[in-house]
């Protein structure tokens, strides 16, 4: 497996060791997880979350998985199946929450009812439920499978709009407190090719087909633009993202902290929100009205 930004090619054992070392380096550099802490890994059945869960288990962390069923037909059925198989093979604990089962709507229906893009309804639902599950289950930290490509693309979009509040929140660790569990992104030192290759080389089956709701979205366009640059200038994505973390984050964090100052518990569910009612409760109520 070749990793051009490292000017390196690895045999299989050295590559999987490279991946583990990059995750350990991210955890240590950004103080993501302290020894003995309980980690709740957000798993989707995709390459990133399953690679993350596997690496955390191999590094000796107490890492349980949380899978959220979104009700997106065959895609959800297949992704759940890969997740359960992964957990069973490793005797790892997997918590499952079904949005249709517990809240009475699926993501496509909820998105239409709330007049949101499906990815928006999906993202806010998952963030809400990950946070709640972590706090209810006594976990110290939620770990998500966001990788270097994801973070570079989000950064690219935030810079195009100069959204200072979002830029201020874009860090590999978001602290806990004020009703939030600590959220960490241990894969930020690995690109998508690397997490996919890790799964292939470790024999981890994952859902390759993309979510049918996400076709043509803006985020994908950002990734394509960045990969066009990376193809001729390997290392550009890493320089962009890590340069931002080192040099720009201290300038923009105050904008995000100012927003956190307006948080209060949602009257519906108690989750932190800056609005009258939290976005998830609003989504649930609009989906219920639609019937």
């Amino acid at each position: 497996m070749d990793v051009r930004r490292h000017n390196a090619a690895f045999c299989a054992p050295c590559f999987t060791r490279h991946c583990r070392e990059q995750v350990k380096r991210a955890i240590d550099s950004y103080k993501m997880v302290a020894p003995g802490e309980r980690v709740l890994v957000a798993v989707s059945g995709g390459k990133d979350s399953l690679a993350l869960w596997d690496i955390l288990l191999e590094l000796g962390y107490h890492a349980d998985g949380l899978y959220i069923g979104l009700g997106i037909g065959d895609y959800s059925d297949e992704s759940a199946s890969f997740t359960r198989e992964f957990a069973a093979q490793r005797s790892a604990d997997l918590i499952e929450i079904s949005i249709p089962g517990e809240f009475g709507f699926d993501i496509p229906t909820g998105a239409r009812a709330a007049k949101r893009a499906p990815c928006s309804a999906c993202g806010l639902s998952k963030r809400h439920l990950f946070n709640k599950a972590a706090l209810d289950g006594g976990y110290d930290v939620v770990a998500t499978g966001h990788n270097l490509d994801d973070e570079a693309a989000v950064l690219f979009g935030n810079v195009l709009r100069w959204d200072l509040a979002y830029l201020g929140r874009q860090y590999p660790v978001l602290p806990g407190g004020l009703g939030f569990a600590r959220k960490v992104k241990p894969l930020v030192r690995l690109g998508e090719r690397e997490t996919a290759a890790y799964c292939v080389l470790k024999g981890i089956d994952y859902i390759v087909e993309e979510c049918p709701m996400s076709a043509g979205n803006r985020h994908l366009g950002y990734k394509e633009a960045l990969n066009a640059i990376e193809q001729t200038s390997p290392g550009s994505k890493a320089a962009f993202y890590f340069g931002f973390l080192e040099r720009i984050v201290p300038m923009v964090q105050p904008a995000a902290e100012e927003e956190r100052g307006g948080l209060h518990p949602c009257p519906g569910c108690g989750s932190p929100t800056v609005s009258e009612v939290c976005a998830f409760c609003k989504l649930v109520s609009r989906a219920a009205e639609r019937g």
Partner: protein
């Protein structure tokens, strides 16, 4: 060689031997966006694919279909 593409799934027949980079260029694929597997084994960008091989070009980009 048989070439399997994903998202959406489709198959092509192409003559070999062919260098990985030449194959990707002919299909308009960015080498940063895919993994290439020859007969089930991951290969690096400088590999040459024999005519008899089955190649999978697996997209790795999450967040949409190309």
């Amino acid at each position: 060689m048989k070439v399997l593409l994903r998202n959406p799934r489709r198959e092509l027949e192409l003559p070999g031997p062919l260098a990985v980079q030449a194959l990707l260029s002919s299909l308009g694929c960015n080498r940063e966006s895919v993994l290439v597997m020859v007969d089930g084994t991951l290969v690096t960008g400088d590999a040459t694919i024999p005519d008899s091989a089955t190649v999978e070009i697996r997209p790795v980009i999450s967040g949409g279909s190309s």
